[in-house]
């Protein structure tokens, strides 16, 4: 009976191919959609894990910048500065706990490329946001002209990168985050000061009235015990006119909102494709069985039981659905895994692929779901086949 099912499938290659394509589409949609939604969720988790500070304070004019939140939160290229005097004004406020400054600088393009690289400088003495993350891949102290490269930079430990004519050494490479931090360079305060000075010497940067030796881009603040981040943000915004304070959580809510919207759209799309796919499979199996009624009647006359006929229809469905689902899953993996960079860039949202185990789990589940759906759609036809009236069909009255 098993070989009969295979022979039937081989005998009708077009029908078999169409059914396999449908099953492939179902598993491709399930796997692709689930993987994208899971990657977006993981990207957001990764971004939340990197926030580190309760409150971020930036100069007021920075908030006018396009994609200002991406610069502060995700390491997109861009820069702004405020003087030490302004920073001190904020630090003196009541309720300020840990404070650490950060310095932003966008390169004009490194030695090989025309695309600028965001360089973030931090003060190792006070930093509590970047250092814990760097320590996961690099235990040592960063020396002058040492840099830590994001995971998506095509540079490895020991490589030399030149920014504004200053040669820096890659001391470590960070884990992937799924955000623009992956293409960012981190370094200490001394190195970034030297880079800023070099950019000024070459006339590639303009600090206007701000002294680059006495400037910071952003203050990362943790609220002191007994003060809530909301109170601290309100206090700074009321009393320090030339800066703006934000709660890190509030800044991320916009990204979370976009991400939720995209995920919802993908889920709807998966549901629509699945409903359509199952209806088409149901119709295809029903039509196929109707067309083959005489073939089944002859098999009955030759001694095949009703259960065997139903089993034959189900086996055919299982074979086509399994083959198609496997093809769909493989195509899905071949599209999503190598081209995840394009998806990340197109969505412009944090996007971090799950680990290999989870991806395998998603692929197996998608194949199983597609096979079960195909088998369920075929079960109706199998039941009908088991109920055919052999005499009536062979007399040609049906």
């Amino acid at each position: 009976m098993k070989s009969l099912a295979i022979k039937n499938l081989k005998g009708r290659p077009v029908r078999t191919a169409v059914l396999m394509v449908l099953a492939a589409l179902l598993s491709f949609t399930a796997l692709g959609g689930t993987l994208v939604v899971a990657s977006l969720g993981k990207g957001l988790d990764s971004l939340k894990a990197r926030l580190g500070a309760d409150v971020m304070v930036v100069p007021k004019e920075a908030t006018m910048k396009k994609k200002f939140e991406d610069i502060v939160l995700q390491g997109s290229t861009g820069y702004f500065y405020m003087s030490y005097a302004l920073a001190d004004e904020v630090i003196q406020r009541e309720g300020v706990g840990q404070v650490s400054p950060q310095f932003f600088l966008a390169s004009t393009g490194s030695s090989c490329c025309s695309i600028p690289v965001q360089i973030i400088g931090f003060d190792p003495a006070t930093d509590f946001t970047v250092s814990p993350w760097i320590k996961r891949t690099y235990g040592g102290e960063l020396g002058k002209y040492d840099i830590v490269a994001g995971s998506d930079l095509n540079a490895f430990v020991g490589d030399k990168l030149s920014f504004y004519g200053v040669e820096c050494t890659v001391a470590a490479k960070l884990e992937k985050t799924g955000t623009s931090y992956d293409t960012t360079v981190f370094t200490n305060k001394d190195t970034i000061t030297a880079l800023i000075q070099s950019s000024l010497d070459k006339g590639m940067n303009d600090f206007k009235d701000t002294d680059p030796e006495k400037a910071v881009s952003c203050l990362m603040i943790n609220a002191a015990d007994g003060t809530s981040p909301e109170e601290l943000v309100n206090d700074i915004n009321i009393h320090c006119k030339k800066v703006r304070a934000f709660r890190s959580g509030d800044m991320i809510s916009g990204i979370a909102g976009s991400l939720g919207g995209v995920s919802q759209m993908i889920r709807l799309l998966i549901a629509a494709v699945w409903v359509l796919g199952i209806v088409i499979l149901l119709l295809a199996f029903t039509m196929s069985v109707n067309e083959r009624k005489k073939e089944f009647a002859v098999l009955r006359v030759m001694g095949a039981s009703r259960a065997k006929l139903a089993g034959l229809v189900l086996k055919e469905a299982l074979c086509t659905c399994l083959g198609g689902s496997l093809i769909g899953a493989v195509v899905g993996l071949l599209v999503l895994l190598p081209f995840n960079g394009v998806i990340e860039k197109t969505l412009a949202l944090p996007f971090l692929l799950p680990n290999a185990g989870s991806i395998t789990g998603f692929a197996v589940s998608a194949v199983a779901l597609s096979v079960i759906s195909g088998a369920a759609a075929a079960a109706v036809s199998a039941w009908r086949v088991s109920r055919i009236d052999t005499g009536l069909i062979l007399r040609g009255d049906n």
Partner: protein, 134 residues
């Protein structure tokens, strides 16, 4: 008859992969554009190398389709295997691409060339084996 059909399908697929490498690398999954000063980044030279290998593979694939001698056809198909692997190794392994992995050469050109190169290599080997069976 059945073997001929399989060989024809494999030959067409080989030609498709070769065309994807030669034409596709220039039109669809190309490298990054020139810098503002008009000079090219290193990925451009990787694209040129893939174009040359893809061109050679296209000619060989056409020969695979139209040469009548079975042994020669299998030999030509088998020659596509190392060429396909060679093409797949060019982006970033043989010729370094740009600095950031989210740039077009890394995000689009590299995976596409690897997929089409490896697929051509596998199909070429399969073609040689399928022909040998008969």
């Amino acid at each position: 008859m059945k073997r001929k059909a399989i060989e024809w399908i494999l030959g067409v697929l080989l030609l498709g992969c070769s065309l994807c490498l030669s034409v596709g690398v220039k039109l669809v999954f190309h490298a990054c554009g020139p810098k503002d000063d008009g000079s090219f980044m290193t990925c451009h030279w990787a694209e040129q190398a893939v174009l040359v290998i893809g061109g050679a593979m296209t000619v060989i694939s056409l020969l695979v389709l139209f040469v009548t001698n079975g042994g020669m056809r299998r030999g030509l198909a088998l020659a596509l295997a190392p060429l396909g692997i060679g093409a797949a190794l060019i982006p970033n392994t043989m010729i370094k691409l740009c600095m950031m992995n989210d740039m077009h050469c890394h995000a689009v050109m590299k995976p596409a060339v690897i997929i089409f190169g490896i697929t051509a290599a596998v199909l070429g080997a399969v073609y040689a084996l399928v022909g040998k069976k008969d």
